[in-house]
Symmetry: C2
Subunit: 240 residues, 2 copies
């Protein structure tokens, strides 16, 4: 099956969690909004699709698979998981992977809100003072709480290898590694210190980015670098 | 099957989305943390379970079904949906209901953040000024954007009746009605005006709370009233 991914073409953002799964699964896909408008791509094609769909997405990313259009990052991964061999076979294992993904989604919202505590309506520049306070609390309390949790998940996993669930990589592992990469970009010092005390997470991150297909993707130039329009942003004045 | 629900005993919060599904589905369940400690309930029992589980929840609510413990509100509903007859039979329909639930979860986070823009680390009293700014933007821009979206979903649903998906109530409809009830409690004037212009959502809300099992639940006294410890809070100084 050929997949069409629709997402903002200039950021990793939430789309990157889907891209990593598609890459690791060796899927045949087109990143539609990154094509030119002449090729039927670009942001206008994405907005048109959202406007016209019978079951409209609220926001990108969304994935088109045949006649189905699926939105919400975690929901797209729920759909792709079994198709790309990125979840356990049993129903309980699938739900557990999804649960971890939703907990990562909560962490991602909080990481985003460090630079947008007053919400998406105001520019960063209009909430910088509030962003400083929220960032301090995020680094002091929330990063440790979330990372302790995921470290414990790996520790309690009876499977072999560096993964969170069983003995094979899942989409939640790919997303976990991506979140760690994002935290490193946004808060390099704080994240280095946090990972030094959580060796299992550091190992999971390295194992994901050492996988042949993920490495080939990163080396291809197709992986958009982190930047200050995405979820994870590096503002020196916020600290970390 | 007998279900055990674990959630904070004094608020509706995220647990209420699960309670409404269990009630509408006529499920046999125990709300464990609302039992006394002598009966094996209370918050200590909940915390103990979270600490000891092999696949630990990050936070309440979580549901125990046989040997499985499932956390994350949307994930619990994903599990319960087919068991309680609250989703369509086809896989695409199930994913669509889940997608709506995840979009509602995004709205719920933003509704919560009106009173906690600087995050869960600070008390409301320490972020009241910021809460005012975020609430103004939430009412002016975010409530309309989300409610327009869900109104359109109902409008484009080819099924009969007031629902978002097909011709029968789903867990996403129950959650939609609960979100509307929460917005009404937190921002009564703004929500009244918003609903006057979105008649399909007003009708969906009324249809859910008129269902016999939901009405019986509300009338039983078991439904905890909204209060200012939950997700949706009424602070007059924030407006709305």
């Amino acid at each position: 099956m050929k997949y069409l991914l629709y997402y903002w073409p200039e950021i990793q953002g939430r789309g990157e969690f889907v891209r990593l799964a598609l890459e690791e699964g060796g899927a045949d896909y087109v990143d539609v909004a990154r094509l030119s408008e002449e090729e039927g791509g670009g942001v206008p094609a994405m907005m048109r699709f959202m406007e016209d769909a019978g079951r409209p997405p609220f926001a990108p990313p969304f994935l088109v698979a045949g006649r189905q259009a699926i939105a919400q990052t975690a929901n797209i991964l729920l759909f792709l998981g079994p198709r790309l061999g990125l979840v356990p076979r049993d129903a309980a294992g699938k739900l557990w992977v999804h649960q971890l993904q939703l907990t990562l989604a909560d962490l991602v919202v909080e990481a985003h809100d460090t630079h947008h505590p007053l919400g998406p309506t105001f520019y960063y520049e209009d909430q910088e003072r509030e962003a400083k306070r929220r960032t301090r609390a995020f680094i002091a309390e929330r990063i440790p709480k979330f990372l302790d949790y995921f470290e414990r998940v790996i520790e309690r996993n009876p499977g072999r290898g560096p993964w969170m669930v069983g003995s094979a990589v899942t989409y939640a592992d790919l997303s976990m590694a991506q979140v760690i990469a994002g935290l490193r970009f946004a808060f390099p010092n704080a994240t280095r210190k946090a990972l030094a005390r959580r060796p299992r997470l550091a190992k999971l991150h390295d194992a994901v980015f050492a996988r042949p297909r993920i490495r080939r993707y990163a080396d291809s130039g197709r992986r958009i670098p982190f930047n200050n329009d995405g979820l994870f942003r590096r503002y020196r004045e916020l600290g970390g």
